[in-house]
């Protein structure tokens, strides 16, 4: 059964470019230019993964609406927001709708394909029973690479793919500094500014602090990067 990827993007050039690269990697692609056509398409056939732009023509939040509909249809469908909008508010909205990833334009197609691969794999893993063998524990943190599941002190932390990768990278070698360059590679977005990394870290910290106000494991090494402090517990 071919893997179907739905692309909702109002700009035909970008849409076709995404479509081309994904097709060349062997995926079936359904492209939609606006919300009504996408809704109709989803009703006919639920894709394996959806790539959504937030702004669809005049429809400022069309992507969010579609995301909600898809989430209603399938709780485990991987959804990636691919947008030019880079505000925290948008990121929080996407998180609230349990989108799996949030990528800002311009996106490297190479990394896009990698992310799609990764998310599909995780989606597969979630549909089958998660295997405990792939779960890594770092102190109070539990990390399951296959299913992108993160638990802090037993509570599930909802992270995007990029955030998950950053946590994974930081905890791979606790106590050691991950430089900005290393973290930039991990985000798989091409060239990433320090400020963008700082933004990711800030959001990750906020997510942990929602569960545990005293969370302070991610420490800043100014001018260099970040490290995961193992702590005593």
């Amino acid at each position: 059964m071919p893997t179907v990827i739905a692309i909702v993007e109002d700009d035909p050039d970008q849409r076709e470019n995404y479509s081309d690269v994904l097709k060349s990697h062997g995926y079936e692609v359904r492209t939609y230019a606006d919300r009504p056509s996408a809704e109709a398409g989803f009703a006919r056939e639920l894709p394996n993964l959806a790539l959504l732009d937030i702004m669809l023509g005049e429809d400022m939040d069309g992507g969010f609406d579609l995301c909600m509909q898809l989430r209603n249809m399938s709780p485990t469908l991987p959804i990636i927001f691919l947008t030019a909008r880079d505000s925290d508010a948008d990121r929080i909205s996407s998180q609230r709708m349990t989108a799996w990833d949030y990528i800002t334009k311009p996106v490297s197609l190479e990394f896009l394909v990698a992310r799609v691969h990764a998310l599909l794999k995780i989606s597969d893993q979630l549909q089958s029973a998660p295997t405990a063998s792939t779960t890594v524990s770092v102190g109070a943190l539990e990390l399951n690479e296959d299913s992108m599941l993160v638990r802090w002190k037993g509570q599930s932390v909802s992270l995007t793919l990029t955030e998950f990768w950053i946590i994974e990278s930081l905890t791979r070698n606790p106590g050691h500094v991950r430089t900005y360059d290393a973290l930039s590679d991990v985000t798989r977005q091409g060239l990433v500014e320090r400020n963008t990394i700082n933004g990711y870290i800030r959001r990750i910290r906020n997510k942990f602090r929602e569960l545990d106000e005293s969370f302070d494991r991610i420490q800043t090494v100014h001018g260099t990067g970040y490290k995961w402090e193992q702590g005593s517990a």
Partner: protein, 747 residues
């Protein structure tokens, strides 16, 4: 490095910034001063009032003058052709005296003939002097130091009193050994009785005391009757430089219509006993008639009495300058006088009195006019009369005695073609003056009230206006920073007022609001722009990638590489645009995340990181290990340091030296980054920390000038300031961030 020099330069820098943007202050009058100056123009009004009152006075004086002229002419025509009134024989012979003097004084009590001369002098009233050269029978060799006579007469019910003060260098009394009566100092009295009979009496004495009176023949040598007369009584009293003579004549003795003439005869040589000088009370001794006896005619007075005018003096004169009748006085009755009864006064009323005195001085109180009015103005009257009699016309003149004003008109009285006499009317302009004074007083008070009221009103108004304008100015100035950034978008003070200032305030508010919206738009522009650029950039980027993917052989193609480089540069531009735009919001949001941390440690760590990232440069921290605690958001401080280092590298010399300093004093923590690059260009030095300002000339180095803008935003969110200046002594630029010390020392 010398810290004080550094601070001075920093201050210079701030001053320079301030002078660039401070509001121009011009010297000149402020609104309040201008309005008060305008009010002072009101002072013209009292001047105008004064002038108009003066005009009015002139007009009224003319009216008074005309009225007086009419009165005078009326009197003169009534008295015309009444020769009987001027007949010397008509009338009561009571009034005798000097030729042109005032009517004789009437005494209540008779004067004792033995009373001292001083008593007489005081009781008898004003003395007429008979010392004038040429007026009397004195001769060409008259010397006033040898003989001078002062004389006056008074009446009571049945006696006439005559009093003489005679200055004589040598008093020669009658020698008892000599028979002759006339060879000594003597007084000759001539009486022309109503019947026309003339009697001559010689008054002489051998020693001071009683005077003997003899009836003489016309030659004044022989006695008609050797017996001394008892009717006329006189005494001689020697005085200083001469002697005084007191004479009493019964009025019965004189009869009706009598005329008198006195002659004072002076003999100085005791040996020859020759008459040296005779002074007569008669101006024209050659006339047969005895002109000296003045007869006031009661009928005349009765005739002119009904014509009496207030504060006027009417005198009727005969052709020989003798007063025939007199009515009224130029002085106002006492109760009309302006004096105040003295009474105990409180301090306040004393001030009031002082004020009133000043007032009267300013306004020329008519009281002074009364004071200045002469009691006797007969000399001027005579002059006027002589003109009237000479010309035969009515004459009117105004006289001034100091502050006193007198209107005098004189008109001749005709009788059958002969000039019988003249009527002279004097009226004081006092009444007018007091009217004028009262008008001026009222006017001045009214004006003062209005002036003070207006002055205060305008002062209050102007103060309020100045205050409002000042407040508006302050608020307007506070609405934006000296760099021109808006701090608020409306002005609250006085915006509800309905006047022009209120609408100006509203206009400025609207202007600020529009400006604020525009600024907001401008601030959002980079973000909007970035957002809009992202999509086409994504198209180019993904297309390039597709191209490369589909044509693997092109992956090393130089044009493709260049295209990708271009995309990369474009992307970093857009990223920095969004970074700056989102930073402002983020900073306000993050202020709650402030924490106290060691800035020195943070800077040292960062510098290590920069050194690792830029191995070609030498990045050197130049400060001690001591912790510098500061309250702030460490991530943002690090971000700020990133930009400072980026900036220093970008504008420094290739592989140069970058020094990072951290200083602390009582007020500020100063973090500065120094490079060794070219000096700051003058044209943008002031705006270096504004967005989109960059001095780069290298087209391939992407620099939007947002780095230092971000530095400024972060510094300002920490209530700090930034400045850039050329290094002293060596090449390079120093960018300094001064953050206020806000330390909570741990432990």
């Amino acid at each position: 490095m010398n810290a004080s020099v550094d601070r001075a330069s920093a201050q210079n820098n701030r001053q320079a910034t301030a002078s660039r943007t401070s509001r121009p202050v011009r010297r000149g009058l402020k609104i309040r001063t201008k309005l008060l100056l305008l009010v002072s123009f009101l002072l013209v009004i009292p001047w105008m009032g004064y002038e108009s009152v003066r005009e009015m006075e002139k007009f009224l004086l003319e009216g008074q003058e005309q009225a007086l002229e009419l009165t005078t002419q009326g009197i003169s025509s009534i008295l015309g052709n009444r020769s009987d009134l001027f007949d010397p024989g008509v009338g009561v012979p009571e009034l005798v005296g000097s030729s042109t003097g005032n009517p004789l004084k009437t005494l209540e009590e008779p004067l004792a003939i033995d009373a001292p001369a001083g008593v007489w002098a005081q009781a008898i009233g004003e003395l007429s002097s008979f010392t004038g050269v040429g007026l009397y029978e004195c001769g060409a060799d008259y010397r006033p130091d040898l003989l001078a006579v002062r004389h006056a007469m008074a009446l009571n019910a049945d006696m006439l009193f005559a009093y003489f003060e005679i200055d004589d260098d040598r008093v020669v009394l009658r020698d008892p050994g000599l028979l002759s009566l006339d060879s000594n100092d003597q007084i000759r009295l001539t009486i022309q009785r109503g019947s026309g009979e003339v009697s001559r009496y010689l008054l002489t004495t051998q020693e001071p005391g009683r005077i003997s009176v003899y009836l003489m023949k016309p030659n004044w040598r022989e006695v008609v009757n050797g017996e001394a007369l008892r009717d006329i009584v006189g005494t001689l009293e020697p005085g200083e430089g001469g002697y005084a003579v007191k004479i009493r004549i019964p009025r019965e003795f004189l009869g009706t219509g009598a005329r008198l003439k006195f002659e004072v005869v002076d003999v100085d040589d005791e040996a020859s006993r020759a008459i040296r000088q005779i002074i007569s009370t008669e101006p024209d001794p050659f006339r047969f008639e005895f002109g000296s006896v003045r007869l006031a005619t009661p009928e005349l007075a009765k005739l002119i009495q009904p014509l009496y005018v207030a504060e006027a003096n009417i005198t009727v004169w005969d052709a020989f300058f003798r007063v025939r009748a007199q009515v009224g006085s130029v002085f106002p009755p006492v109760r009309e006088a302006f004096g105040r009864a003295p009474q105990k006064r409180s301090f306040l009323t004393q001030i009031e009195d002082r004020f009133l005195e000043f007032f009267e001085w300013i306004l020329r109180s008519p009281q002074r006019g009364v004071k200045d009015m002469p009691v006797d103005s007969s000399r001027e009257d005579r002059r006027l009369l002589s003109r009237v009699i000479a010309e035969g016309n009515s004459i009117t003149e105004r006289r001034r005695y100091g502050e006193a004003k007198l209107i005098v008109t004189a008109s001749p009285i005709w009788a059958a073609g002969n000039m019988e006499g003249a009527v002279l009317v004097k009226q004081s302009a006092n009444k007018l003056l007091s009217l004028q004074y009262r008008t001026l007083q009222r006017f001045t008070l009214l004006f003062l009230g209005v002036f003070i009221f207006l002055g205060i009103a305008i002062l209050v108004f102007a103060t309020r206006l100045t205050y409002r304008v000042g407040k508006l100015q302050r608020e307007t100035e506070q609405a934006a920073t000296p760099e021109g950034r808006l701090l608020k978008n409306r002005i609250r003070a006085g915006s509800r007022s309905s006047d022009e200032l209120g609408s100006l305030t509203r206009s400025i508010s609207a202007l600020l609001q529009n400006l604020g919206q525009y600024t907001q738009y401008l601030e959002k522009l980079p973000d909007t722009l970035a957002h809009e650029l992202h999509n086409p950039l994504n198209v180019v980027n993904s297309s390039l990638e597709n191209l490369q993917y589909n044509h693997a052989e092109l992956s090393e193609d130089k044009h493709l590489q260049r295209a990708r480089n271009g995309v990369g540069r474009l992307r970093s531009i857009i990223t920095s645009l969004t970074e700056a735009a989102s930073l402002k919001e983020a900073l306000t949001r993050e202020q709650v995340q402030s924490e106290t941390f060691d800035l020195a440690l943070l800077v040292r760590n960062c510098v290590e990181g920069y050194q690792a990232a830029h191995p070609g440069y030498r990045i050197v921290p130049n400060f001690s290990e001591a912790p510098v605690l500061i309250l702030g958001v460490p991530d943002r401080i690090a971000q700020m340091l990133d930009k400072l280092i980026d900036n220093a590298i970008q504008f420094g010399s290739e592989n140069g030296l970058i020094i990072v300093n951290l200083r602390r004093d009582a007020e500020f923590i100063e973090l500065s980054v120094l490079n060794d690059g070219p000096s700051l260009p003058d044209d943008i030095a002031d705006r270096l920390f504004d967005p989109m300002v960059s001095s780069t000339k290298d087209a391939r180095k992407t620099h939007l000038g947002l780095g230092l803008y971000i530095v400024r935003l972060v510094a300002e969110s920490h209530r700090g300031t930034v400045r850039a200046e050329n290094r002293r002594g060596s090449r390079g630029v120093e960018v300094t961030v001064a953050l206020p010390v806000e330390i909570r020392r741990r432990g």
